[in-house]
Symmetry: C2
Subunit: 308 residues, 2 copies
């Protein structure tokens, strides 16, 4: 198995959906990525920062999932990053109510000694200069570097984003962001333009409409599992990314055919994530549930037609 | 092979997309359905009505595709149904500019003698009482009846629509229409509610986001092929339906696993339809092109994961 390093937020979220609302609960990109990847039993570590208000039991929970938290800096005098949002009735759109950066405002990432030899690096959605700083600290280039980003960084830190994107292998972004980044409406053309910016692989996340994986020659599509009820979409994209890189790290195979499987695992885990608030579902997922849902994915997508 | 009867509009369309505009060209649901189904070499016939302005060469073209046009009534004193629309830049939405019902306003369908024994019946998007009238004229219930409809009939002829839906096997509608029809946002729940209204099979068309096939136990998903350029979406839904029922009619197998293949063929043909204006692409499609694109669909969707 390849050692996996995850850089991203560990945070408090307060979420409101049509089905209810939460107080401050555990959230953050690195949290979701780590929990998702943990289903493959990979050795992973998180680089992040939290404040003195962060409950130790959350760190314990991450440790229980085989996630090394020594890279999570604890600034006792500061407060943990806090995001609050309210989803609209269709759950496809949301309003951000509060974004308190707190200790994240002057975050200086530091890769722990024991992860300087990581083979797989997941750069969660963060300021591109933080993502770049982590790349610089790792002496031997990892086997695979995956980066997630969002429209906020395209709007505000475009030049830094362009620089870090040159150094990675896989970018994961949503469809609107792919269009913004490339200036192309067609996602096929958008992926081509983004390839030219650096990444050999482009993953376009379309939420309930699934995800596309492109390299320069091939394209693969994984649908989202049609669900009776989506309860809370928070973290679904990060859970997808965690399943993707977690599977690749566990198998140490970065061929396109293996990446297809990784995309299916990402979609599989994301379909669990949205069933309950926050990390609740992901913190407690059995191998049997995963296998049963994998069977559903096969039934949903696999067909037999002889080519003549 | 099962004999296929298609009821629907044969029309003139004038289309404007960001890529150009057309004068009055051949259009109509039955036209697209028939051309699409013709790729399987099935014996098919159309029940429709046109005016004296309808060019004979269009009828010839349909005949050349092995489509019986004896059920297309020609009202020489009237004018052919005319629709004109303009697509927005994203091609996902459009404005209807003109709808001239003309001879369609008092259309009384008449199934020709030689199609009274049809095994497969496709009721294209039309007034539900016209759809019902066709069902009544056929003495022995066909093996499979597929119905397409739209929000206009839900808004204006709900009671008639509910009656005809009780008598069919498969309904094809788009996602927004499925939500309107069922009052459910979740497409899984929407399909369940629509099953209760009659149809054993529900096909939900999501345009560029693919199509879902439900029966009461199973669900299957076919993506739309990601294309560099969508030129004109007109007729894509009817082309999908024509591929679906055409494949079923040619194989005479209405098992769920065969319906999966039918949905893939529907998506396959729809991906060609949108590449040129109107019926241009569908009127001239080779088996080699179809097979090559089928290969693309397999590469796009098929993966190998062992279940444990």
């Amino acid at each position: 198995m390849g050692k996996l390093l995850i850089v991203g937020t560990v945070a408090f979220d307060a979420i409101e959906t049509p089905f209810g609302k939460t107080d401050k609960i555990l959230g953050g990109a690195a949290t979701y990525i780590g929990l998702s990847a943990s289903n493959f039993g990979v050795t992973s570590g998180i680089v992040s920062v939290v404040g003195g208000d962060f409950p130790l039991e959350y760190l314990d929970m991450l440790n229980d999932h085989n996630i090394d938290t020594s890279g999570i800096e604890i600034k006792r005098e500061g407060k943990t990053f806090f995001w609050s949002g309210k989803y609209h009735n269709d759950l496809n759109t949301r309003d951000t109510l509060i974004t308190d950066l707190n200790v994240l405002a002057d975050f200086k990432p530091k890769v722990p000694e024991n992860f300087l030899d990581c083979e797989f690096l997941m750069l969660g959605n963060l300021h591109p200069s933080v993502q770049m700083e982590v790349i610089k600290q790792i002496p031997v280039r990892p086997k695979l570097v995956v980066l997630d980003t969002m429209n906020f960084w395209m709007d505000n830190t475009w030049d830094e984003l362009v620089e870090v994107i040159k150094k990675i292998d896989v970018i994961t972004i949503n469809d609107e962001e792919a269009r913004q980044m490339s200036g192309e409406y067609s996602l096929v053309k958008a992926a081509q333009k983004i390839h030219e910016m650096g990444p050999k692989y482009v993953v376009i996340k379309k939420g309930e409409h699934g995800a596309l994986l492109f390299n320069e020659e091939n394209v693969f599509f994984a649908p989202a599992l049609p669900l009776e009820e989506v309860f809370d979409p928070t973290g679904a994209g990060d859970t997808f990314a965690g399943g993707f890189i977690g599977y690749l790290a566990s198998s140490r195979d970065i061929s396109f055919s293996n990446m297809k499987r990784a995309v299916i695992y990402g979609s599989n885990f994301a379909s669990f994530c949205v069933e309950k608030f926050g990390t609740e579902r992901m913190a407690d997922l059995s191998q049997k549930e995963i296998q049963n849902r994998l069977k559903q994915f096969k039934e949903l997508t696999q067909f037999e037609i002889e080519l003549s």
